[in-house]
Each structure stands twice: as structure tokens, then as C-alpha cells.
Amino acid sequence: MHNLNPNEPSGPLENRWEKHLFGLALIAPQNRKKYNIIVIGTGLAGASLCATLGEAGYNVKSFCYNDSPRRAHSIAAQGGINASKNYQNDGDSTWRLFYDTIKGGDFRARESNVYRLAQLSCNIIDQAVSQGVPFAREYSGYLANRSFGGTQVSRTFYARGQTGQQLLLGAYSAMSKEISSGRVKHQSRSEMLELIIVKDRARGIVVRDLVSGEISAHIADCVVMCTGGYSNAYYLSTNAKGCNTSATWRAYKKGAYFANPSFTQIHPTCVPPTGDNQSKLTLMSESLRNDGRIWAPKNIKDCNKDPNNINEEDRDYFLERMYPAFANLVPRDIASRALKGICDEGRGVGSKVNNQRLGVYLDFSSVIEKIGLEKVKEKYGNLFDMYKSITGENPYQVPMKIYPAPHYTMGGLWVDYNLMTTINGLFATGEANFSDHGANRLGASALMQGLADGYFIAPQTVANYLARSQFEEIDDNHPEVVASLESVKARIGKLMNAPKPKHSPDYFHQKLGRILWSACGMSREKQALKAAMKDISELESEFWQSIKVTGSESDFNQTLEKAGRVADFIELGYLMCRDAIDREESCGAHARLEFLAESGDAKRDDENYSHVAAWEFQDGTPVLHKEHLHFEFIKPSVRDYK
């Protein structure tokens, strides 16, 4: 085990990024076209990076698995994006956004990175507005803000319930401008299946064309992964069906460290599951918690009653009762655990799945009474419509039902202050890296991080890497390239020709999901995690024995795509449990039952666990390395939302 060097600058926090920028090497405009950069993924992080690198004059090759860059899952983010503009004069500042993010992450993130994120937040809004992102505005013509997800200031910018979609369309249009300039060459319906490393440097990737099945190698001077998170390890999550860990997992298996894999966020406000054939869960924006009141029946006998017939005195507004100061706006992890607790007590509502009612009410009747139906429609109209189309129930008349679902993964590839992984020339941005959210992400921070990385940080640090490196010419005949191509083909061959083909990819994925949801979800415990690791190992052998993929590998084959992704999720699931066992404390979203206060709140152990756990793949087993976190400016405190 060795200590990881995050390459942070030193000195006063507010000067660090500027100081660091000045120390970065530059490449003159006329020389930039000599460099080739591969970008994988075109969500907020990837699209914004492609646009910025293209504008600067580099040659960029980008890939995404979707049929268009505009469809990446960033599009589904509803609520908003934070920026410390302090337009509302409510005491916000860079420092406060920094503090809220560090505290929200339960003091498990790097101070320098988070401060930089807060500093860049304002530039992102400027950039997005200039691209034509139609943020909500006041009648005066000024930008509107709202308070969102556990903050006491109004710093969230939003575009009704489609903030992610509008920001991505902004980044996608900027990227499209660079595609037409010829500096960005983009390939849709393509999936990265291997990383090519030559002399300890990331020099390319192997890609499968999802339509023709063709396997090809792509060489460059460096590789940036903007491939999102891995919530789909749980099978049921709010992520798009195609979201996967394969790119980051290939990198891990080639030597990039995977940090805090067990830090996964379970979002409290999702539409509850209704049955066994459910393929995904849908998030209802957390902004609903601004005006909706969460409650469950006080008495189990009321759980199958029409909620409108349950008297006020028989309702338990449990978040307001448990956390009077923040009430319905407590951070996501706290809300999710409280909700699960109520359902585990048997006070859940809605249809029974596995003999348990999974849901509590989110009630808008008092706000409708207060500000009127029209105002509520204007604020939440599209979310209410979405709920109605999924459930067939009208939330203007009957309270919504919500239940937690996996939503975001704070863990990801370990990166230093330059967003570079432990492999030279391999960068990771956005949700694919672990960097800024510690053990729990605050609402409206994911969009901010993806865009800060893509527009402002990675373009500078990637240039610095290129300027300081010498690259030898390589082509498709290089032994490393040939070997990478061969290993991809061999793996596909194994997936297509299991010894005893019997079960579909979804069969294994659902099994893995159930194991992870119960052992490595909202609450974890040593024995259960150990048992889960054993179950996952068995599932892995069963998978390779009996995975059944029909059709051909030289064709558009969605079953084959799924099989490859599930194989990687199974291995990652094992590492998630391994990491969760190792962290003998509770922090943020990581709630170890052995380390909870009587109130149910997380009990951190700063003496022993104030570190990032970064796992290295060594001869088939994960080996732990630690990056110790130093808090020079903020004193870690108990995260008390009472």
C-alpha cells in the first residue's frame, strides 16, 4: 500500500486554482492540431469537453453508445444546477457553497477540489446562458433561483423540470459547432471495450461498433473518460438502461485505481416499484420536497386506506418530526434512510412487492391551498404529468407515493487535482471520477461538476499533460494494440459461447441487483456484506457457465451489449461490497448498521477513516491504497440536520 499523491497546490484555498493554472504548461494555438485526444461519453462532462477542446484547436475523437450525443443520461437531471452567484442576496458565497458541499459529502472529499468547483460554478451559468440555455426568469427579466436539496440559500438555477436536458443541449450544440468545424470527429452507437496502454501511458481504446459489430482500435495521445456512474449495478435505478461501468471497469483492470466504490447515493423521491418485471425506476425531482410534505400513516391499519380519508392527527410527518430545522429538505441520504425505516416498520403504503408496501406519501394539498393550483402547475406541471402517466394517479388530487432508488455514484476512478487517474494520460471527468462529492452528493451539484470538469478544468490539465509529454508514433500493428484487440474479441467469444447457455443477461443482472440492494444499499452490515461477496462470486461463475446470448456478434445485438455490461457490473458489485466492509464507520450515504448513533444518524470515525479508499487491481484481487484527507480550512463536524 502506498499513499496517493493528489498533486494539490498549497497556500490559501482561494488562490490555489489560479496558482495551479499559472503553473500548467500551455500549447501554442498553431501546435494544438498536432495532438489527438479521445473523449468517451457525451454527457455534460464529455460534450462540454469536446466543445472546448475543439474550439481550442485540438483534434478530438469522441464516442458514445447512444444514437446521438444529445441523448446521454445527463439529460434526465431535473432539478437544477448550483452556482454561488448570490443573486438573491441571502448570504451565499463561494465559501458557503464550498462548505455546504464538503459538509454534505460528510467530510470525505478533497478541500482543494471542492473549493475550485464552487469557484467555477458562476462561470458555468454565464457560459450556459450565452449558449441559449433557457433558464427560468423573473418578470423583471433576471434569472430566477430556488432553494434545493438541503441548502438554506437559493442558489439553484433551473429550467422547469428539464435543467439537465437544457444544459446538455447547450453543450451538445457547442460540440456540434466543433463537429462541423472538423476538429471533433464523433462516432455514435459505439462502445469502448478496452483501454490501450503503451509504455505506461494511455494511448487509445478498442471500440465496438454497436450496429455492425466491428471491433476497431483508435490511437491518440491521451484518453478522457466521461462515461458516467454505475448505479445500474443495482439493476433497478433511475439511470438510463444503457448506463454502465464497462469503460471505467476496463480502466480499473488496466491499472487505474477505483475510489470509494461503495459510495452510492439512493435518492429518496422516486416512483415506487410495482412488480417483478419493472425495468427501471423513475426519479421525481427533489425540488418537489420544497413544497411537498412527506408523511406516512401513524397506524399500520391505515396503510391501505385512501390517503384523503386519513385524518390529519393520524398522519406522521416524520421528517418534520425527526429533523425540525431542515424538515422535508434534509439531505438525500438522511431522507432515504428515514423513508426506508418507516416502510420497514410496516407503515409503508402502495402496492406490495415481496409482501412489503414500499412507499410513503408526498403531499401537495397544503401548498395547493396556499399558493393555488395554477402556481403549483407552473412550478411542477411536467413532473406531475410524468407521475400521472406512470402511475395513472392524479397527484393534484391524491398524494404522490415515493420510495428511494439508486441514483448517483459518488465513487469512481481515482483522480488527482488534474483529473488524471493513476494511469498516465488517462483522465476521468464528471460522474466517472470520484472527486468532489465525498460520501454523499448534494442536489444540483452533479450538473455543476460535470460542466466544471468539461468546460474549465480538463481542457487546461489535459493540455498541460500533452505539453509535458513525448509521444512515440504507434499504429494498429503495435503489439499492445494487437493484444488489446485480441482480448476484446476473445471476451466476446466467451460471452457468445458459454459452455451451458441457459440464462439471459437480465436474469443475472436482476440477481446481482437484489444482492446489492439488500446488502450494499441504504444500510450495510459486515456479515451481510460478507455473504453478498460470496453470493456475487458464485453468480460470477454461474454467469460464465450459463450466459446465453442469441444472435450474432457481427450484427446489431443488444443482448450481447447487455451481457458484456452485466459481466463488468458483477465484478464491480464485488468491489463495492469489499469497500463497504473495509470502511468501518458510517459516513454520508454509507450507513454501516454497526456504526450508527441511536438516532439513526451516521457516526463517522475521522481518526481512522478520513481517507479516500482507492482500490488497485493486482493479479485479480483488489488492493487498498489510501489518500488521506487533510482539512486545513474546515473543521469536520458532526453532520447534524436536526
Partner: protein, 240 residues
């Protein structure tokens, strides 16, 4: 519920396709339309057959990937809804379903129910952007936008680029898609500077891609999952 499904199967763009009939049984009303197809594909895997290819991703109506013509209606008969947001309870009275891909020569079938919509990306690349580079943006509140303009821009910007407007149009016109993008930017002062040029370039690209012209059938706004209005097309034409 039990359903008889007539599904368009086509190996690739060059080959001829045809309907193949399948049956799925015991479908719950809360099952989504795409989950029903998932169940069919599970059956096909069990039988050792190649699965039906169909596009999907977010399954919450926002990414614009899903694209099915169901009983002759792009995204099914339900208004303001993408295919992934359809539930089988809506089909309680129809036990026979015809499922086809988008049909337009500019959207060639790739396989079965999936089509190639790259033409939309190329239209955006031709001018569907504001020409600003990263880092050169002024302070966000330095330019005010009236709430009406901001709301109109947003209404146009909600287009998810699914292509249902093309699939339903007798001319396979992409006018609604193109007009929505043009109007989105035209409503905003920072976008208006390039409006005329943008409109010219995008419309030109639309023709190059082989999409037809608008002849006011107005089917597009009826099938649009985001209810984009044809008044966008009026605005687009006024810019020419």
C-alpha cells in the same frame, strides 16, 4: 392481459423486412410498453432466437431514443407521451398490436425497429447553435430576457429530437424539429443575432438530407411527445 404482436423484422437497411407475429401472455397493466417487449425478448432468448432490436434508454420520456409506430401512430395514440411512457393498461381493449419503426427515407432502418437519425445531428451541426466559445461569456444577468421570451424559448427547446414529427408527416418533413430549434434561439437576444443565417443553413441541410417540405398537415404537433406547436414553423418561415 394477453397480446398478439405483429412486429416489423428487418435484418438491415439493404434487406427487405416483414411483419412477424408473436404472442405475449400474462402482462400486468402497470407494465410499460417497452417492458412488455423486454418480456418478449426474454422468451426469444429462451427459444434461442435473435431478439427484436428496438431503441430505448432513459425510459422516462426525456432522452428521445425510443421510436415505435404502434397501430399506425408514432409513440402510440396517447397524447404528449413518448413510447417509453406508455403502459399496458392503456391497451386493455386492444389485444392485437402492430409495431413498426419510423418510416422515412432520411431515417433508414438499421435493424428491426431501430432507425438511423444521424440526419438530425447533421442539421444541428449546420447551424443549430449560438457561436460562442467557452470562456467568452459575459455575466449571466448582464442581458435581460423577458419572462415571455424565456418561456417561449423554453417551450421550443423542450424538443427531444425523437423524430416522431418526421415519421407521421406525409412528406417526411423535419420542419417541426428544425423550426423548434430556430425559434428557441430566436426568442433569446443572444441567439437572435444569427437567426436568419441559422435558419438558412439548417433548412438547407434539411433539404440535403432528403426531408420533405411542410404542407400544413399539422400531424406533427399532434404526435409530438413534447407538444411543440406548429407556430414555430410560421416563425421559421418568416425568417426566410
Amino acid at each position: 392481459m394477453n397480446f398478439i404482436l405483429h412486429i416489423w423484422r428487418q435484418q438491415n437497411a439493404e434487406s427487405l423486412g416483414d411483419f412477424v407475429t408473436y404472442q405475449v401472455d400474462n402482462i400486468d397493466g402497470d407494465t410499460s410498453f417497452l417492458e412488455m417487449l423486454d418480456q418478449l425478448n426474454e422468451q426469444l432468448i429462451e427459444k434461442g432466437e435473435d431478439c427484436v432490436v428496438f431503441d430505448y434508454d432513459c425510459r422516462e420520456g426525456i432522452c428521445g431514443t425510443c421510436s415505435l409506430v404502434i397501430n399506425g401512430h408514432p409513440h402510440g395514440e396517447k397524447n404528449a407521451t413518448a413510447t417509453c411512457q406508455l403502459y399496458m393498461r392503456d391497451y386493455a381493449n386492444q389485444n392485437e398490436l402492430w409495431i413498426e419503426p419510423w418510416r422515412a427515407s432520411s431515417f433508414p432502418v438499421i435493424k428491426d425497429l431501430a432507425v438511423d437519425r444521424d440526419a438530425f445531428d447533421r442539421i444541428i451541426q449546420a447551424g443549430g447553435f449560438i457561436s460562442v466559445s467557452t470562456g467568452s461569456a459575459p455575466e449571466a444577468n448582464s442581458q435581460l430576457v423577458s419572462k415571455d421570451n424565456a418561456d417561449n424559448a423554453f417551450d421550443a427547446a423542450t424538443c427531444i429530437g425523437c423524430g416522431a414529427c418526421v415519421a407521421v408527416c406525409p412528406n417526411a418533413s423535419a420542419s417541426l424539429f428544425v423550426a423548434a430549434k430556430i425559434n428557441h434561439f430566436h426568442q433569446l437576444p443572444q441567439g437572435r443575432v444569427e437567426s436568419k443565417n441559422r435558419a438558412k443553413r439548417m433548412i438547407n441541410q434539411m433539404e440535403v438530407e432528403g426531408f420533405g417540405s411542410c404542407s400544413n398537415h399539422r400531424h406533427c404537433e399532434v404526435v409530438c411527445p413534447q407538444e411543440i406547436s406548429v407556430s414555430n414553423i410560421t416563425l421559421m418561415n418568416s425568417l426566410l
